[in-house]
């Protein structure tokens, strides 16, 4: 009985440490309301050269290679928020499931953000304009690299 409990504890510790460990080669970034900063934070994204970036919290991290001669963009669509007379509200609210349009060179496409407000794309290197309704942002994609971009879809006034 004691042996079984010991083995279970050991297995639990191994699992915990494995989950908490850095994913090999990936760097974590999070958006602080103004810019992306290196480190772990809510609503973060994992980035590695020549790999598709992975929003934090999607479970197991898969190393999906970028297609040849492409770079990646990890776009976070969010609403700026603030205030709250009775309770402080979060400053960044991801916009989930919203349609975003992207144009650049010969490419014109539309896609939808995930539940964390992210849109992950692999694209040929070049200059692109991303639009969410009337809001837009210019981004530059470099081969093998990930461009972290945020697009503010306006704001929510609380109270």
């Amino acid at each position: 009985m004691v042996k079984i409990a010991g083995l279970l504890t050991l297995a639990l510790l191994l699992c915990t440490s494995a989950l908490g460990a850095e994913i090999a080669g990936f760097k974590a970034y999070f958006f602080d309301g103004q810019s992306f900063r290196e480190g772990k934070g809510e609503g973060g994204v994992l980035v590695k050269d020549y790999r598709l970036p992975v929003p934090v919290g999607e479970g197991a991290v898969r190393e999906d290679p970028l297609p040849a001669n492409t770079g990646a963009v990890a776009l976070l669509c969010y609403l700026q928020s603030g205030g709250g007379k009775l309770k402080r509200q979060p400053r960044v609210i991801p916009i989930a499931g919203v349609a975003v349009q992207l144009q650049g060179g010969s490419i014109s496409l539309a896609a939808r953000t995930d539940v964390a407000g992210y849109l992950i794309l692999a694209l040929p290197p070049g200059n692109y304009t991303i639009r969410l309704g009337s809001f837009e942002k210019a981004v530059v994609i470099e081969r093998g690299k990930t461009t972290l971009a945020s697009l503010r879809g306006g704001k929510r006034m609380v109270d």
Partner: protein, 616 residues
Amino acid sequence: MIRTLRVVTLLLLIVVPAASWGAALDDYYLSRLANAHSGARSLAAIVPGQSLGPDRGQTIIRHQAWLDWQKLQPSTRKTLAKVMARPTLAGERTCTPVGGHFTIHYATSGSDAPDSTDANGNNVPDWVETVAGVFEYVYSVEIGKMGYQAPPGSSYDVYLEDLAPQKVYGFTTNDFTGVTSVSYPSYIEIDKSFTNSIFLPFAPITSLRITAAHEFHHAIQYGYNAYFPSVYAEMTSTWMEDEVYDSGNQLYDYIPDYLSYSDTIAINGPMDNSNSPYGRWVFNRYLAELQGRTVVRSIWEKLGSMPAPSSAAPDSSNEIPIEPIIDSVLKGNFANNFFGFAKRMLVRDWSSHQSELSLIPRITPLAVNSVHGTVTPTLSLPTAYTFGYYRYTASTQDGQPLLINLPSLPAALAVTAFQVDGSTATGWQEYPYDSGNQRITIPVFNNDVYLVVCNNGGNMAAPVVVSPAFPADSSTILDGTNLDANVLTIPQAQPVPTGSKSSGGGCFIATAAYGSYLHPKVAELRQFRDRYLMTNAPGRAFVAAYYAVSPPIAKVIAGHEWMRAAVRVLLTPLVFAVEHPWLALIFVLALAGGVGWRWVSRREKRTAGASASVVG
């Protein structure tokens, strides 16, 4: 066998409550939202050149996730982002008064539904009509009389929701597509009733009025320029509360959050983690008294003329700074007007809202010193557009002067002194700074002296009233509490269909117990009702009887967490039977068999006992 039955019963007693507690809600949202929108799916969803239509089903689920947010586990909340879409309400109805400017959206079932009392019998809840009347009055003041530009759109959408769990009075959020490069439509969400204790001590109607005046001005602000500075938006919306409803007076509660830190929080500083942005409304009152009330409107009109920040600008630059705007509207006099504001906060010579002056708190001095003769304070106030006071009391009241020497006054600081003087109209006498001698002289130092220190770039001029003056608006300060009853015609609505007439109705008790119409267990019960009860006469009769008696019971259950838990436990066997009918049948048969076997075995024993007694 009997022991086995007892063990099974004991296990059931343990398992059933645990199962009824259910993380099922988390599982439900995770399965419906997280799987549907994984990053891989986003990549796969790319459709070149094709615009995407609205995702109505997902919108409903995302909105429900938002409403149920507090009920979800932290890990689930982390996975599911908050949903930002116009709300979709259960059994949604709308109320658009004839000739009005608003459409009030309300739910007819579930937690968002407002009180359904309908005294005038027009099938529109009375509270919804009250909301419509209040918003229409707010419109008549802010747009009709004060002259602000109406927000874009022909009818403005207001949604009633249960926001108390989030501890929120209301939200105003812009749509994603503007009518110009800077002017955006928006929508308002407010609490469905304001009856929750978190809104005390304000009566529900007071909270509604304050919230309507406040949020609708945000709607106006989005119409001018969605890139407005949030802090000035809150300063204006909070100030507007008392311009529309003078007796509300909630805004005074927030002044200490600013005034207690007026030496560190800049009047134009960004939003912070306190209520100071709401408290800073008092600067607008000063400007309105000095320059005329339309100075505030002019500031918003100026903001409306500003271009959107460059799309290449960093996110930190996505709001238009307010200080240059105010300075431009005041024709370069922001600094001396701010110095005048610092003085008024001490002297309190306000000219409007006279009956409420006691609600404006006094500022605690940065330091209090008992002195005599000469003092040489060292002043430090590094943040622009901040101010504070130093108080000097006379250690000896001998009529000698007080000399406040300031030989190394920082260039950014403006200073002046006031002495308490009952012979003047304000009760104060000002003694300005003498730049030649670098000192302030109080000729007779018997009463307390306050040194006013203000970081405004060192501008010590008296506050300049801009010429030509800002035009007067057509509104006098009135308390709208007797003026906002709905006067517009409310179109008669169709009766809300009840569950007995339509299979689309809700399971009231189950909804109350599980907390959400969309809870998977409630959905299963609905499905069972529609598939097995509504398809035959006895079933329909049962459903009709259930819907006749259940709404008041459900209301009571919804109001007590312990009742909700108890009903969930009671419903668990039913839900289990609906989910696993064959297992349930086997269980019932086994139970019946066990009871039967026990009955037979007892009977045999009794018979055997009786035989023995005959033999004996």
